[in-house]
């Protein structure tokens, strides 16, 4: 069966139409020496040989199973129960394609519905969509929703500087070409009160992160109130795993909750694919991007699942759509749904508690060291900032000798935080790992 629909006659006709004789004439502009260059490849090798060679390459990589990982900054090394992969690898789930046909897609649709329900529960929101690419694009979609809510009449968006720097960059990229003012994140020394003071009648959205990029936990109730007092929308960027322990953003009266879902059963895997979480209040459901699965009954009264509302962005609203993003992370959302169902409410809380307590143990021990001090004031979750005696690049290079992957160099994104390291601790870091980190840091600073 041929997958090329054009017959030779078709092609001839097209060539005639553009006034060339042969297909090759189309490549005239390419210099002869580039057309069929001598590639100088080594002679072929057997499958056995190539497998061995590739294996050797892959073993040159460091991975989190063989070294102690204290790097987080938005992507975390958590335990993933084996059942997650087991379900994911069922080939019935192997399409990321939108299940438009409910009669053949009940399994996929139900899985997405379960995902939505659990995310709504976790965030305290009324409704969750069936995911975005990642946390950063989910935040960008929150901005788009807010702008549309006010029909572009409010042109100011306030971002806390303690939102993941890359998330803020993605928002700015998405908003290129829109007449919009994005403010609030000029320096990292901005608290909730300052953000509240910035909010005015021109403001469409105020967004904060919880726990923030530095790991700190803050009560945003007062900020939520202040934002609503000027009629703007309030968005909270979350680490969903932390919500196993923390009160949900609905308690701050959040209108939109977005976040990176990688912490829920998704491996680190070179930065993706990850999972963008997006949840909101009922009243904004019509303006929410992405897709949404709903529960219904068929003509015989049996329970069933269908895509509700959201393919309408392309099919029905078309040029009036507020966002045409329908692409999602169906398979990764499924992974998170399996993870959440395995953990259950108490399991998720236990994981979050383990992360919290281990991180606090690490922070206390590091703070005791002569040359290092804990930078965070007040509560934090599983990540904290340490003021270090020398550049983080140097420290991390030395830590590798101890089989430790050190923390994130905050100086990369925050001018004022040179020599500050963001350290993440998860349930996978043993006490031995942490003690090793502490002693290694101590030795490193005396070298």
């Amino acid at each position: 069966m041929t997958y090329i629909p054009h017959t030779p006659a078709n092609r001839q006709k097209m060539l005639e139409a553009i006034g060339v004789e042969r297909m090759e004439d189309l490549y005239e502009g390419i210099p002869e020496r580039f057309k069929f260059p001598d590639l100088d490849l080594p002679s072929r090798v057997s499958e056995i040989e190539i497998a061995q060679e590739l294996q050797a390459y892959s073993e040159a990589n460091l991975d989190t199973k063989h070294i102690a990982c204290f790097l987080g900054a938005g992507a975390y090394n958590h335990f993933i129960p084996s059942v997650v992969d087991h379900v994911l690898r069922r080939n019935e789930f192997y399409t990321a394609y939108t299940p438009y046909q409910p009669e053949v897609s009940q399994g996929t649709l139900q899985a997405i519905y379960e995902y939505q329900s659990m995310i709504a529960n976790l965030t305290g929101m009324d409704v969750s969509n069936a995911s975005h690419y990642d946390g950063a694009t989910a935040l960008a979609e929150a901005v788009i929703l807010a702008l549309n809510q006010y029909r572009l009449k409010r042109k100011k968006v306030i971002l806390s500087p303690k939102i993941h720097p890359q998330f803020r960059e993605v928002v700015r990229t998405y908003m290129q070409g829109v007449d919009l003012e994005i403010v609030g994140d000029e320096t990292c020394d901005v608290d909730a009160q300052t953000l509240a003071d910035l909010a005015d009648e021109e403001t469409a959205l105020v967004a904060v992160q919880y726990p923030d990029f530095f790991g700190s936990i803050e009560d945003f109730s007062a900020l939520g109130e202040a934002v609503h007092a000027v009629g703007a929308m309030f968005c909270v960027v979350v680490n969903p795993l932390a919500l196993g322990l923390l009160k949900p953003p609905s308690e701050f009266d959040a209108d939109i909750v977005v976040g990176e879902g990688q912490t829920l059963g998704v491996p680190l895997a070179y930065g993706g694919p990850y999972l963008g979480i997006f949840a909101t209040r009922d009243k904004y459901v019509r303006k929410m991007a992405g897709r949404l699965v709903g529960e219904t009954v068929d003509s015989r009264g049996q329970r069933g699942y269908v895509l509700t509302l959201t393919p309408r962005e392309q099919h029905i609203r078309r040029d009036r759509a507020t966002s045409n993003i329908c692409t999602n992370q169906g398979l990764i959302a499924l992974a998170s749904a399996v993870y959440l169902s395995q953990m259950g409410k108490s399991g998720l809380r236990k994981v979050a508690e383990l992360c919290y307590h281990k991180a606090h143990y690490a922070a206390e021990e590091i703070d005791k060291l002569e040359d290092y001090s804990l930078w965070n004031q007040g509560l934090f979750f599983n990540e904290f900032v340490v003021a270090c005696p020398q550049p983080i690049v140097e420290i991390n290079e030395l830590l590798l000798d101890y089989d430790i992957l050190g923390g994130y160099d905050l100086g990369q994104c925050y001018q004022e935080l040179q020599n500050h390291m963001l350290i993440a601790v998860t349930e996978l870091n043993s006490k031995d790992d942490i003690d090793l980190l502490v002693s290694a840091l101590s030795e490193v600073s005396h070298e």
Partner: protein
Amino acid sequence: MEFPEELKYTENDEWLRVEGDVGTAGISDFAQDQLSDVVYVEVTAAIGDTVAKGEVFGLVESVKAAADVYMPATGVITEINEALVDTPELVNSDPYGGAWMVKFELTDASELDSLLNVEAYKQSVEERSS
């Protein structure tokens, strides 16, 4: 299909009821029939807004399509029909009654002359249906 005689119409299938200085607008029976089941109505103009004739003041979305709704005459919005938020199906069942979308203060009575009367509108519908 109903075409109440006392109303004015537009080529875009909006209807206008004039009572003194107050205009009431919605979409016609023909429009709702073309759209089929309406699932969502949104008035995008806010109370107090001045909306010029021909400008968009709302949106009607059905299972088949979404359509902008245009002001039949210039006016200042005084009332929005909140009932349509929860019962958009009124647009199908009662397009000239329960499904009114906005009330507004007419600012330019001369504009009314350019609207279609029932006969002209019927003819426009017939031309488009055939």
